[in-house]
Structure formats: C-alpha cells, structure tokens
C-alpha cells in the first residue's frame, strides 16, 4: 500500500471514530497500535507502563477523534503526537524522575532499516535527517533524545553536563535552525 493510500485510509478510520463507529475503532487499532506501542516503549522504556499508557492513549483517540482536522498534518503524525504527549505527561508527573539511566538510553543504537522502514523512508524523514546533520553533533543528539526519548531540558542538561540555561539556549537555537531548514513542515506527500 502506498503511503498516501495509507494516509487516506487512516484519516477515514479516525473520521469514523469521530462518529463513534466502534468497528472503525477496532480497525484503527489493528492498523496503528504497533506503531503507537513502539512509541510508548521508546519513550517510557518500561513495557508494563507502555501497556497501561497504550490503553489510555486509545481511549483519548476515541474521545478526541472528532477534533482531528485532516490537512494540518498526516493522521499518523497526529496519532504519534497523542501517544508521545501522553507518555511525556507520565514522565513529567513522576516525582523522582525516571528510573532508566539516561546514558544507556541515549546510546541505544538506531534500529536497522527493516522493510517497513525502507518503504516509509519518506521525504519527511530524509529532510529532517539532512537538517539535523547541519547541527553540531551534540545538538542534534540532544534534539533526537528529547523527541524520541522524551527527555526534558533538565535531564538533557544533566546528561551533557552543562548548566540548564545553556541547554535551553542550545536547543532553542538548534530548533530555530531546524525550522529554517525545514520550512513549514509540509512535505510533497502531504499534497498528494
């Protein structure tokens, strides 16, 4: 299935969930839950917590499906954002911080490109990878650790052993540079 067909299908399923169509919810879950579970596992780094989170995330998706506006971003982007935000809420709500050693997590190697990843080696991915390469190595590592592993300014400052304000300045500058490189974030696929 071409990526744009998938986008149309997932958008239709979300729209039907907005109409409280339970069958569509089941299909949406079947088509997207592995991606969102993978997201939870990567951010939370704990399978029990990821399982709990995934349940709450799909309940949010069901309740908020009518708010999804196609055209703003792809439905997968929306679903992943719902999942990431939920997991980050959980992390931020933890008083004593997270239990996993940050060094260990940041050093996790990137997964080998599998067939799925190659198929979806999208414009969006190639563009952000290209733009991240224009940043100093430690800055791009910090951006990726924040996005993929859910680290806060404070956690990143501790990891890179720099003052909190330095980390804020690093990341804000890095992100604005990324913005100038990426533009409004639309890719050719969004217009198909």
């Amino acid at each position: 299935m071409a990526a744009s067909d998938e986008i149309v299908e997932i958008e239709a399923l979300i729209a039907r969930c907005g109409l409280k169509d339970k069958a569509a919810f089941g299909t949406l879950y079947d088509r997207t839950s592995a991606k969102l579970f993978g997201t939870c596992l990567r951010v939370l780094k704990n399978s029990t917590e990821a399982e709990e989170a995934l349940q709450d995330i799909y309940i949010k998706i069901w309740r908020n499906a009518s708010k999804f506006r196609p055209g703003t971003y792809s439905p997968i982007t929306w679903l992943v954002a719902v999942a990431r935000n939920h997991c980050i809420d959980l992390l931020r709500a933890k008083k004593g911080g997270r239990s996993v050693e940050i060094d260990e997590a940041i050093m996790l190697p990137d997964p080998t490109p599998g067939p799925e990843r190659q198929m979806l080696a999208s414009d969006a991915r190639q563009r952000i990878e290209g733009c991240l390469r224009t940043l100093p190595e430690d800055r791009s590592q910090a951006v990726r650790a924040a996005y993929l592993d859910g680290y806060s300014y404070a956690e990143l400052a501790a990891h890179f052993d720099v003052p909190l304000n330095t980390m804020r300045t690093w990341l804000r500058r890095a992100l604005l540079k990324l913005r100038d490189c990426l533009g409004d974030g639309y890719t050719a696929a969004d217009y198909e």
Binding site: A15, G18, L19, K20, D21, K22, A23, F25, G26, Y29, D30, S33, A34, K35, F37, G38, T39, L41, R42, E51, L54, Q55, Y58, I59, N64, S66, K67, T72, Y73, S74, I76, T77, V80, A81, I88, R92, G114, E116, R117, A121, S122, A124, R125, I128, E129, V143, R144, A146, Y147, L148, G150, Y153, L156, L171, R172, L175, L176, R179, L182, G185
Partner: protein, 243 residues
C-alpha cells in the same frame, strides 16, 4: 503573531517547539498548554512543529502490543453497561403491556418516515450539527449502525455502515430515555445507507446522555406489539460528542 518583530516571532516559535518536543516541565508546561487553547497563532506554530519533527517518527519502531490490550481497551470503552442492558432489552416482555398502552401517545412517529437518501460516503457536514451520538454495533450479525441527533433540529440521522436485516425480516430502531423506561419504536431501518428521521419534538427532548438506542430483529412491517418481539441485536448508549 503577524505584528511581532522577527525576534519575538523566533521566541514564540521556539516556545512552540519546546512544547511540541515535550521539553517543558511544571508551570512552564502548563502555561504553554494554556496558550495552546487560547492563541490560534501559537497553536498553528505547535502544529507546524509537529509536522517538522514528524520525520523522526520513523525511529519509533513498530512493536505489536499484547493481544489482550485491545480487549481491555474495548471493554473500558464499550462494555461498561452494555451486557446488563442488553439482557434488560431482551426481556422485552416486561414492557410489552406498557409499550402497547404508551404507543398511541408516545410514538408520534410514522414508520417509514420521509427518507432522504444521501451519498453512501459519510458527509462531514451533517455530523458537525450532531451533539448526541450512538453506535450500534453487532459484530455477530455484521451490523454497524450509527445514530446522531442534533437536538435543535429534532432530526435523527441513522447511518447504516454495514449489515442488513436477516432474510425476510426487518431491523427496527428503538429509543428509551433511560434504562427503566419502555422503549419507543422509531421506525424501521430501510435499505438506505443514511436515513433522516424527523422526531416528535417532545420525544426529541427526552433524548439525552442517559438514554439508549437499540435495534431489534422484527417481522416484515415491524413489531406488531409496539415493543421489541425479536432478538435485540444491538444496544448503544447515547454519548455526547465534542465538536
């Protein structure tokens, strides 16, 4: 944001990025979230950041969750009161006498009311009017029907997404304002994918979040008694939706 100078615009964009990234904690995070609700320009910039950053989403490697999770989620969403309620509806004999008495007064609805055929694809426009919605899903019968009501218009839209009546039988739609009240027939669900059923305004006024819709299997022409006589195929609680 249009009146800001470039420096302010960058500050705003960096704040939006920090929220989209999830970097903020505590009061800062709460403030940024509040701004998201009240400042459309900021919300648009957060959405732009979600698009920009989504290229990294491919690093979230898909991992199939344990099978039981889907059942747990569906149980939490859909089965809260359904089983007990379905049993109540099944014992329709309980209401038969009551319903027959009530039919003349309460059912101000013609069977087979004016049917407005709409294109088979769901149109978003009518949905935006709806405030109350019910999903009627009977997987065993392949039946999947959605009822939406815009209380200001007293028009019930019934969308048959999947499924049909059993051979030689008909599907009849019922409404009860709460679990203790006998169901009122709203008419037969015909072959059209989307039906618009005008409701008696007095009846429409009783349709609320405590109510239920149900679909029963009935002989041709519908229930002869004014209460469900065949199998109750699906029962759905009415939900209010956010637009």
């Amino acid at each position: 944001m249009s009146e800001q100078n470039p420096f302010e615009r960058d500050e705003q964009s960096a704040d939006a990025a920090a929220l989209a990234m999830g970097l903020l904690e505590g009061a800062e995070r709460a403030e940024a979230r509040a701004q998201l609700e009240t400042d459309p320009a900021f919300a648009a910039e957060v959405a732009a950041w979600q698009r920009r950053l989504s290229g990294m989403d491919e690093d979230f490697v898909a991992v199939a969750p344990p099978k039981r999770l889907k059942r747990k989620i569906e149980a939490r969403l859909f089965r809260r009161r359904r089983n007990g309620l379905a049993a109540l509806w099944q014992s329709a004999g309980l209401w038969r006498g009551v319903a027959v008495l009530g039919t003349a007064a309460a059912v101000a609805l013609a069977l087979r009311p004016g049917l407005i055929p709409l294109p088979p694809e769901l149109q978003p426009a009518p949905v935006t009017e709806a405030r109350l919605i019910t999903a009627l899903y009977a997987p065993d019968d392949g039946l999947n029907v959605i009822a939406t009501l815009d209380p200001t218009q007293a028009v019930l839209r019934v969308t048959r997404l999947e499924g049909a009546a059993r051979p030689g039988r008909e599907l009849e739609l019922w409404f009860a304002p709460d679990p203790d009240t006998a169901p009122t027939s709203l008419g037969l669900i015909t072959e059209q994918t989307v039906l618009a059923l005008p409701l008696d305004p007095a009846l429409a006024g009783t349709v609320g979040a405590a109510g239920y819709f149900a679909i029963s299997d009935e002989p041709l022409g519908g229930s002869p008694t004014g209460a469900p006589t065949g199998d109750v195929l699906a029962v759905g609680q009415i939900e209010e939706i956010d637009i």
